[in-house]
């Protein structure tokens, strides 16, 4: 294990730090600063701590680790920053430095390693999830990460988003692609012109099977042939956020190689994601894979070819069946969607097209507290943010709370009885798929009357006095 990060990475982080000119817009939108108003739990405070840590060298102080660990990496600060400080580079670099320094107690290191391994390995996650379901519910009341894991495993969304039998596709899965060594499989019409890959996500493939199934149904309905990538293939995002750059970047590289092969052989023309956290990291693969120059062209190709389902679906012909007409959707902008991918308009446009009654929610800039493994490692802050988000999202008693990210849905569902659903589940439902769990009894509502046309003509001549 190296004790430092590479010189060029450290220089890049230093250059990013130097861009901060202390305007201070970021503090007011930083979730942890909003909660506790602690300067060292604000972006500026963390930037100062990272700067001091890199300048001092050696093992970082415990207080530095504490405050940097409390960052959600939501990037609300980056969106707000008027000086365009690339905060993501700073926090990722600082975390990489902390991990490489070996400053954490061994128990913490071991837990973090086990957590990363379990979450990014679908087989292990399935087993862990099965065991968690056997645990008494009272374990959710335990303090710290163990209690948090227990609470998450019993979150209503975990049950609501589980894959269900018989709805994976309108047609049985087609045969595997000839010559593929990945286990990738395809579905859709045999004569489809468009063929895309679906990134199903390491965690989502286990805990959000229904999300992937909804995406498959939707794409198939639009005549798109879908190649599912190797089940649970990880993009590396989770480990990269934890500062485990080496193992995270290795997973990123593996994914780039696989996708590049499918793209270059023409087996797919694009990658579609329903995991916005993954896509927001894929959009930075050039930087993540900077130490693998041989992959730079492939990484760039993958970046350009990867689209969130909300972007991809806008191009499709998907008429509404009327089943979801008038359903009131409180839409939560996942941080990876709004700050990472800058996608806020597209999901709303789709909801409008498909006759949903879409509502925005207050404090849209604040994270729900899910943030990868944050709700396991920082359960207290996470729970306060989760409750705040759920309260805001529940205003007006919507039929469903939607988001483009599994983590947000699981987190929000812990604090509200209102059903939650991924954006793609709602798109699927409105165009012929099953209703998301919790919405089975929904009755379509009449749509508002179109706006009346107002006939009036402008006068032929204008003058200063004419405006009376």
């Amino acid at each position: 294990m190296p004790k430092t990060i590479t010189i060029h990475r450290e220089q890049a982080v230093g250059a990013a730090i130097d861009k901060c000119v202390h305007f201070g817009f970021c503090t007011a939108v930083c979730p942890t600063y909003v909660l506790d108003a602690e300067e060292n739990d604000s972006p500026r405070g963390r930037i100062a701590l990272a700067k001091e840590m890199l300048a001092a060298g050696g093992k970082p102080k415990a207080a530095t680790i504490l405050h940097l660990d409390r960052c959600l990496s939501c990037l609300s600060c980056e969106t707000t920053c008027a000086a365009n400080v690339p905060y993501r580079e700073i926090i990722d670099g600082a975390r990489e430095y902390i991990e490489a320094s070996g400053a954490r107690p061994w128990t913490q290191q071991a837990f973090r390693t086990m957590l990363a391994k379990t979450l990014t390995t679908p087989r292990l996650l399935s087993m862990a999830n099965g065991l968690a379901r056997l645990m008494p519910r009272s374990m959710a009341n335990l303090p710290g990460p163990i209690g948090a894991l227990a609470a998450l495993s019993t979150a209503p969304a975990v049950a609501a988003l589980r894959a269900r039998e018989g709805w994976e596709s309108a047609a049985p899965l087609a045969a595997e692609i000839g010559g593929s060594s990945t286990g990738a499989s395809k579905t859709g019409e045999a004569n489809s012109i468009r063929r895309v890959g679906l990134l199903n996500g390491c965690v989502q493939s286990v805990l959000g099977g229904e999300i992937n199934a909804a995406a498959l149904r939707l794409l198939e309905r639009a005549g798109i042939a879908v190649v599912e990538l190797d089940k649970g293939q990880c993009c590396g995002a989770l480990e990269l956020h934890m500062g485990k750059r080496r193992s995270g970047a290795k997973k990123s590289a593996d994914l780039v190689r696989e996708v590049s092969r499918l793209l270059s052989t023409g087996e797919i023309e694009a990658i579609v994601t329903t995991t916005s956290g993954c896509n927001s990291v894929i959009q930075h693969f050039d930087e993540v894979l900077a130490d693998n120059p041989e992959l730079s062209a492939e990484a760039a190709k993958m970046k350009a070819a990867t689209h969130d389902i909300a972007v991809f679906a806008l191009e499709l012909d998907l008429p509404a069946t009327g089943a979801a007409d008038g359903a009131c959707v409180s839409y939560h902008d996942a941080c990876s969607m709004t700050h990472g991918l800058k996608l806020t308009r597209q999901p709303r446009q789709l909801f409008k097209q498909l006759n949903f009654d879409q509502r925005n929610i207050a404090e849209a800039h604040l994270c729900c507290g899910s943030a990868g493994v944050y709700n396991i490692l920082q359960p207290d802050i996470s729970a306060r943010l989760g409750k705040r988000k759920a309260d805001n999202a529940s205003v007006g008693d919507p039929d469903v709370i939607a988001a483009g990210n599994l983590g947000c849905l699981v987190q929000i569902s812990r604090f509200t009885p209102i059903p939650v659903a991924h954006t793609v589940q709602l798109l699927d439902w409105a165009t012929g798929g099953p209703p998301p769990r919790g919405l089975e009894g929904f009755q379509p509502r009449p749509l508002p009357e179109p706006e009346p046309v107002f006939e009036a003509e402008a006068p032929a001549q204008e003058s200063e006095e004419a405006f009376w």
Partner: protein, 508 residues
């Protein structure tokens, strides 16, 4: 007792009376509250205190009088380019009202107003109205969405839409005076606890005192009524653009009748291209001259071409029943602005494709946005000063002012960026002086530019409005001494020990 000892004793007393969470002497906190964007060193406070109620503010003022410690109240501290969170003088104790006094106390749907504490931000008020499914809309600024609605009004900040005069739309204040007494203005002053007219009637028995507490230091405002407009069924933003720098005179003359007749209900902005485009661009020639020269005319033309706008762009909005109902108004406006052949209409669907115009679309439809402040990265180094002058709505004068102000900016190697916020008779001229604060020479030129511009305008009888803390003493000294004496006398009467922000707007 030394100043330092006084502040420490004050802090101990605050912790005793209001709890330890109500005060901070931490270096990190003090350093960050001292930061600003003006061409001078940071101005560090002596401490930072966080009251949670009007009574807590009263306690702070009483303790400040006892320990002879000067206070500097802020709301959300988003006054970027005007001082941020830093006090007007180093060592003053910042009273951060926004952290704990951030409640929306009332939203009155029938009468169309809200009552707020200092920490209520534009975003928070917007969210609250949306959450309530309110029939009311707010007037946002183009400034930070986390900025304080109350403080913006008190500092005579402007907004967008028909209720853009934020101080004019405030009604009824609660104030802790410098002597520690609490007063309610307007009908709120009636003895008793029933005040149905407090936030609906601006004028009541006796003198109108509210104005005394705008841009001043006579008291700390802890509550304000703010009028809100019923949300129209449809809002139709409009845009026109004019190719030449010298078109400003024509633009101002064309806007005047639209506002005097109230044909256009919103304020109309006439922004030059760099004011608009800097929100989406960085200075492409900065590196070549190391920031010593202003962007060339060729560079400006290239940016205009890239974004499809001219030297001056006009924006505003109509309110009505539907888009179709407003189509004749848009048509009348199109004829009006394009009659001479120099102006061009930018249809809304085209404007929606021009990133920098999204700011006006959001603001005029009542949605707060931070995007205008992306202009701060036009040059590196984080320096910005706002100079707020103004002019009568007369084209000749506007044309003359823009030529000379442009020359002054260029002679200091800075870009001329101006937004004219136009009403029926007066246009507030907001100059954005963006510079590299980390470059001593550039900071010196920015300071010189500000002073030269202010002197130029003053020589033509034009004063400033809202001013950065660094220049408040300078502007105070531009004013007739008799008025300054009157302000001093009021200060003496309401704050005899001078504990509230001595030096703010020059009043001590």
């Amino acid at each position: 007792m030394s100043v330092h000892e006084s502040i420490e004793a004050f802090a101990r007393a605050v912790a005793d009376e209001l709890g330890p969470e109500a005060v901070s002497l931490s270096h990190e906190v003090i350093d960050r509250y001292g930061e600003h964007t003006l061409p001078a060193p940071d101005t560090k406070p002596g401490a930072v205190v966080y009251p949670d109620s009007t009574q807590a503010v009263q306690t702070l003022v009483r303790l400040a009088n006892r320990f002879k410690v000067p206070l500097f109240p802020i709301s959300n501290g988003q006054n970027i380019g005007l001082g941020t969170r830093s006090p007007v003088r180093a060592g003053q104790v910042v009273v951060d009202l926004g952290r704990r006094m951030n409640k929306i106390l009332e939203v009155n749907e029938k009468l169309g107003y809200c009552v707020i504490e200092p920490g209520v931000s534009f975003q928070a008020l917007y969210d609250e109205l949306r959450n309530r499914d309110s029939k009311l809309m707010m007037s946002p600024t183009a400034g930070p969405v986390q900025g304080s609605v109350l403080a913006n009004a008190l500092d005579k900040g402007g907004g967008c839409g028909a209720y853009a005069d934020h101080f004019g739309m405030s009604c009824g204040l609660e104030i802790v005076l410098g002597n520690g007494e609490i007063i309610r203005t307007g009908d709120g002053a009636l003895a008793g606890d029933q005040h149905p007219n407090w936030h609906v009637s601006k004028y009541s028995f006796g003198p109108f005192l509210d104005g005394l507490f705008s841009q001043s230091n006579f008291g700390i405002v802890t509550r304000m009524g703010v009028w809100l407009m019923p949300k129209p069924p449809h809002i139709e933003p409009f845009f026109f653009t004019f190719e030449e720098d010298d078109s400003l005179g024509e633009v101002i003359d064309l806007i005047r009748p639209l506002k005097q007749s109230n044909f256009v209900p919103t304020l109309i902005r006439a922004n030059n291209e760099l004011y608009l485009l800097s929100s989406g661009e960085t200075n492409p020639e900065y590196a070549a001259s190391a920031g010593k020269r202003t962007l060339s005319d060729e560079g400006r033309r290239a940016l205009r071409k890239k974004h499809g706008i001219g030297a001056w762009t006009v924006s505003g909005a109509f309110y009505g029943a539907s888009q179709a109902a407003l189509a004749p108004n848009i048509e009348r406006l199109r004829r009006h602005f394009t009659a001479s052949g120099t102006g061009r209409w930018i249809p809304l669907d085209e404007a929606e494709q021009i990133g920098p115009l999204h700011i006006a679309i959001s603001s005029n439809t009542g949605v707060p946005t931070n995007n205008e402040l992306k202009m701060l990265s036009w040059r590196p180094g984080g320096g910005i000063i706002w100079l707020s002058t103004g002019l009568p709505m007369l084209g000749d004068m506007a044309a003359q002012f823009q030529r000379e102000a442009r020359r002054i900016c260029e002679s200091n190697g800075l870009e001329y960026m101006l937004s004219n916020v136009c009403g029926p008779r007066f246009a507030r001229g907001i100059h954005s002086l963006i510079y590299n604060r980390e470059d001593a020479d550039e900071a010196r030129r920015a300071d010189a530019c500000y002073r030269q511009l202010a002197d130029f305008y003053a020589s033509h009888g034009v004063f400033v409005g809202r001013a950065p803390t660094l220049y408040q003493g300078f502007h105070h000294d531009q004013r007739m001494s008799e008025l300054n004496d009157a302000c001093r006398a009021i200060k003496q009467a309401l704050d005899p020990n001078g504990v509230i922000a001595p030096g703010k707007y020059g009043i001590a």
